[in-house]
Symmetry: C2
Subunit: 341 residues, 2 copies
């Protein structure tokens, strides 16, 4: 009789765990470093390197446009890409609840393997833990990653007055897709998470001589969080033109229904870019033509001083509404949607 569900023994460090690791993980992620089976992977790195980590607790595990496996790969690969680093090596930590369906685990692992192909990153080390039923909700993943920095100096602290702010696509789709899945909603039109590996688009930007000041994927806290963190870190003010921010009709509709703000919703395959205004149109063209970012748009700019009527210390984000009014856009507070990623 073959095993259909994860058992505690799959995390026990003995026979069953070895079998699971070899038959499932090694087959899916096969590479020479992983096959070494040492306590640590052996890498050869030289020069400036980016190092990042992310845990994934998304619920539900499967959603329109992706699953926790795709998310775990794209998320960490994107964190590296946002630093101008080539995503090279990932670790994978798996915490599985006893009784978890082996078929679901296989689907998720397969989805990770597929997403790795989008950047060429490799999983080179891992760890598997199984906790008794009721001690975790299905499956939690952690991926950490290292990558060679191709373009140094990209930083949340590097924004300058006169920079244009670009978003690479329409915002809020991941948050909206999770909300939809959780509420059991079905829309007539397709709404899918934007969950995607951004390295392809970033690589296109990096081969051009754009003077990129900052890049960040707009995950938890959405566009609002990125812009607020940038404004604070760089000591600048940012003006955002609400009408220019691409939002799909589906996301806008869901937001109206639930009282959410698209600017605060999480994205998992959409990034924000700051570079000198004179280069903005060129970067936009590269993103659209070569980076599969058809919805990319210039949505704001970095300003030395805040618009009239809203003057104050630097570090603010000012939202210019389509009706001609302006207000501060704050860092989101509270928890909109737990377990979004």
């Amino acid at each position: 009789m073959s095993v259909k569900h994860i058992q505690l023994a799959h995390g026990g460090g003995g026979l069953e765990m070895n079998k699971l690791i070899r038959e499932l993980f090694f087959n899916a992620f096969d590479n020479a470093i992983l096959r070494n089976e040492e306590d640590a992977a052996l890498l050869n790195l030289c020069g400036p390197t980016a190092f990042t980590t992310d845990s994934f607790t998304v619920s539900p595990l499967f959603f329109a446009g992706g699953d926790i496996g795709k998310l775990a790969i794209a998320g960490t690969v994107n964190d590296l890409a946002m630093m101008g680093a080539e995503p090279q090596y990932l670790s994978l930590g798996v915490i599985i609840e006893e009784g978890f369906a082996l078929d679901d685990l296989k689907t998720i692992v397969h989805s990770m393997a597929e997403e790795l192909k989008k950047s060429g990153a490799k999983i080179v080390c891992g760890d598997t833990k199984v906790v008794p039923k009721g001690c975790a909700d299905g499956l939690f993943l952690n991926t950490s990653g290292v990558g060679r920095i191709i373009r140094p100096g990209i930083s949340a602290k590097a924004l300058k007055s006169g920079d244009a702010i670009i978003v690479s696509g329409d915002i809020g789709r991941h948050g909206a897709a999770i909300l939809m899945a959780r509420e059991g909603l079905e829309l007539e039109s397709r709404l899918e998470s934007d969950c995607a590996t951004l390295w392809g688009a970033v690589e296109q930007l990096l081969v051009h001589p754009f003077e990129i000041h900052a890049m960040r994927d707009a995950t938890r806290g959405g566009l609002s969080a990125v812009l607020n963190e940038w404004a604070a870190a760089s000591g600048v003010n940012i003006q955002l033109d609400e009408a220019a921010v691409p939002v799909s009709d589906e996301v806008r509709g869901l937001c109206e229904l639930y009282g959410f703000e698209p600017l605060d919703l999480a994205n998992e395959g959409t990034f924000v870019l700051a570079l000198p205004k004179a280069q903005a149109e060129g970067a936009l063209e590269v993103l659209k033509r070569f980076g599969h970012c058809e919805q990319a748009a210039i949505v704001g700019e970095v300003v030395g001083e805040v618009v009239e009527g809203l003057t104050g210390p630097a570090g603010k984000v000012v939202l210019n509404t389509p009706w001609g009014s302006s207000r501060y856009l704050d860092l989101p507070a509270g928890e909109l949607l737990p377990r979004i990623c």
Copy 2:
């Protein structure tokens, strides 16, 4: 009113999360790389580098001799040390259950900061997720680590006939301490987990010209798992002298009570070392005099052929009992103690 428990908002990517990260984690782990607050930490690495990951789901979170925080630092630092690598940079992924006591989190974070001092490793990046009550059991941690390899070539595949096998201390204490904590046992004498950072002892070994073939900390699956994995990876047989393996009276007593085998019990600060027999006494002296490994002992050797009566293909571990008999020591199967680490 100050917050005493973790709320979902602490994982929301907004104001509350920023406050928690700054006030708790940044203060405890303060260093220049972490303070950069980018999507990824910027490292400067050159040459052969070790990369490893471990998730920690130990229950209970606090036990005699340590807690999940100490374990999470020592565990990953030890994985690097076992590859002959200097533990340099760690990531920290935290999954917290809503309602978790902030004071407990502070104790655990403090314990991590203390343990980092034992090796000089730094936490340079992190991630915090909060899941609703009931979706996780208190707290799960993940640490990944990178470090410069000081002594290349140490490998589970490098054991050679004629190598001596050394253990750095008495075995089974972590497993026994967790068992005791879980069963609510109180022994008259002190039994504490061996949970500890091994870099100090390894560093002492590395400054001497010992020809170290393999090192591994004997965690899940205990000494049995390490020796079986080594024998298989190197295609050799290993003889283990049961009488020479140091086991404390407390561990031995608990094992008799519960029908466990000390050789299968997890350790979290005890490692196994293989090096040419002629260097074994020297290595033992270094471990005892400079490495704080007072219980270190030579416990076996790598042999070309299995002892008489038990001949077979290479890759076996033969246990010679104090009564003159011999038997194969197998890779543990099943799950002795879930959530040991």
